[in-house]
């Protein structure tokens, strides 16, 4: 997981999204422990409050949970929940952006469909 300070996305959201990606990719399986706030803060050289804010979003969403005195763990069902959430966002983040660029380049719907077909086959 990579933090890009120059990105337009605030650091705490990059932490949230980076962890989501890692959970989806199986880096942190369900019921396994994720790094601590201190580990995140020192690794990326960010204020611990920023790391906490990013991870708290996942706690609130029920993706990770705290075990008192032990640390934070990935919840059972987290992968499924994340997939569902990401699918809902897919249209806005990818489809809309793609169609905007297609319009700028004057790519026709037919051409776009062909490209999609080509992509699927790969």
């Amino acid at each position: 997981m990579k933090i890009r300070p120059e990105s337009e996305i605030p650091i705490f959201l990059q932490i949230t999204q980076g962890l989501e990606d890692a959970i989806l990719a199986g880096v942190y399986p369900e019921e396994s422990q994720i790094p601590s706030i201190t580990e995140f803060a020192t690794t990326y050289k960010i204020n611990p409050a920023t790391a906490l804010k990013g991870i708290n979003l996942l706690v609130e969403a029920g993706i990770v949970y705290k075990k008192r005195g032990l640390g934070m763990f990935v919840a059972t069902g987290a992968v499924e929940a994340l997939r569902k959430k990401r699918k809902e966002q897919f249209y806005d983040t990818y489809v809309v952006a793609m169609l905007e660029e297609a319009e700028r380049l004057q790519i026709t719907p037919e051409e776009l469909r062909e490209m999609m077909e080509r992509g699927w086959k790969k």
Binding site: P5, E8, I46, P48
Partner: protein
Amino acid sequence: MKGIQVRNVTKTFGKVTALEQVSVIFEPGKIYGLLGRNGAGKSTLLNIITNRIFPDCGEVTLDEEAIQERDALLGKIYLMSEKTFYPESMRVREAFHWTKMFYPDFDQAYAERLAAQFALDTGKRVKALSTGFLSIFKLVIALSVNTPYVFLDEPVLGLDANNRDLFYKILIEKYSETPFTMIISTHLIDEVANVIEDVVIIKNGRVICAEPRETLLERAYTVSGPAAVVDTFTAGRDVLGVETLGGFRLAYLMGTAPDTLPKGLEKAPVDLQKLFIQLTNV
């Protein structure tokens, strides 16, 4: 209230007004970035808080007690500054020992460990240290004194990239274990932008901004596009500055960007260093 409170402090040196009616609060357990251009008054402020120089008027309190009247309060604050107050012939290890006498919570074993991490030779005399190692020497002490308030004035002066990286890492580790108040005064804004929680910006002896980094950044944005379209948009708005390249223009603005912009314009957030430059340009 708890913390350091600076109230209406003014300080002049001859005809020069270094600080003018400065009021600012430093709360317990937070990392502050004290930013300002050369000669803005940062060091003067830190020196006044630590009683090294006295203000013409105004006062500084720590947990509601006036600092000027109680020297014991100064034991709670450590200022790492440009000046070195150790006798120059003293060896690094002796300086550690000496610090312990003034700051009882100074952790000598921890200081030795940090020195080893930075490859600082504790047998060397302070006067024989290079610029970089002199900074490291002072940093090691600042990170080991364990006072609730630590001020770092240009902490990474002369440090190479590896040692700066190591310093920020140790600083965050230390802060994560036991939060304390840190005021970092530096010109390398990009490097501390994500380490600090609150920003205090001084311009020409006045505090022009004191707030969480995030809320400050949320109050600013850029708009870019064809020059004429940008100009129409920025008319009547709070514009900090513009950059022009041919027919393309980028404007820095304070305020909240509207959800929808005129066609052809793009908005983007501003990073702290760029915003600082815009806020403190003449």
